[in-house]
Symmetry: C2
Subunit: 166 residues, 2 copies
Amino acid sequence: MQKQLGPGDAGFVLDDYVMYNLVRATAVYSEKMSEALKSYGLNTMKWRILMLLDDKSPSSVSDLARRSVTKMPTLTRMLIRMEEEGLVKRTALADDRRVVEVTMTPNAVKTLRIVQKIGHRIFERAFEGVSGANIGATTSVLQRIRENLERSPFEATTSSVKARAS
Amino acid sequence: MQKQLGPGDAGFVLDDYVMYNLVRATAVYSEKMSEALKSYGLNTMKWRILMLLDDKSPSSVSDLARRSVTKMPTLTRMLIRMEEEGLVKRTALADDRRVVEVTMTPNAVKTLRIVQKIGHRIFERAFEGVSGANIGATTSVLQRIRENLERSPFEATTSSVKARAS
DNA sequence: AAAAATCAATTGAAAATGAAAGTAATTTTC
DNA sequence: GAAAATTACTTTCATTTTCAATTGATTTTT
């Protein structure tokens, strides 16, 4: 296996570029999930929040924002709506009343369990023909990507060469 | 390697779930790219469109929409803006005047080449510590995921069990 | 060949998003 | 221990995105 070609290199093929495939695969997956969730009154964001709460409850708003890679304002609004819909409860933390603790309602757990089955079927379809070993390897690589990128704030070494269109 | 656990199964760990990592890794990557592109007057969507045009020019609007997994209205507006900024040219196809052919301007090519270098550095950082073989394997899996999901329109087999929160 | 159907792209109204400012609570500094 | 700084979240407002309908062009049907 030789050195990775980057965009702009001669012989570079976009369809074989890992980053392009990463973004596109995720977009298609999100699209499918979104369709499937619609009839349950959910969208991908509510789904992700419920999954995160199922994983760790209660969670603070900022914790959910970080783990769902969503901006706080967006999340605040979404959580208010979800509270109105009876999916979550928001309460100020006793120790530190700046913090808002979010928990799932039993109702939300019930809905989540149903939707998880559908999510699992989409997952199975997505990985049709991919071995368990390869799924594991892919997971590791994805975890690694996130860690690598979250660790390092990107510093623009060519900051002097600021080209601009028009 | 045993059977894959799905969300809701006992012993399931969200942080090890491939779909969660897929979405999160992509979100972090997009965030980093977005930051890096800002000073060049670009965003991830313009960047992706330019990459697609660099790969195949001219392209129709619908073709770009499909390959960038973006809704047509969004793309139309973005292309209009990009034309105003001197990045692309839009012309009705002679054979079929419903179709709008989009091409990059030389100016855009110049900008793209610069930004690609930065994109490549982010890519390298993302895959720090990942072998070339593993990058290749990941690419294949991602391609497979997309193909699998694009092929099959998801049919809700539990469509009778429509639960709804609240 | 006129009418109906389909298709590619655009536009208009409504919802979602995010940067920046605002608020309230806690911690740090002097 | 009061003033300043920080933190966690919320709100405001301008922009972006999307759904649904529309336009203009081509193809299909009758």
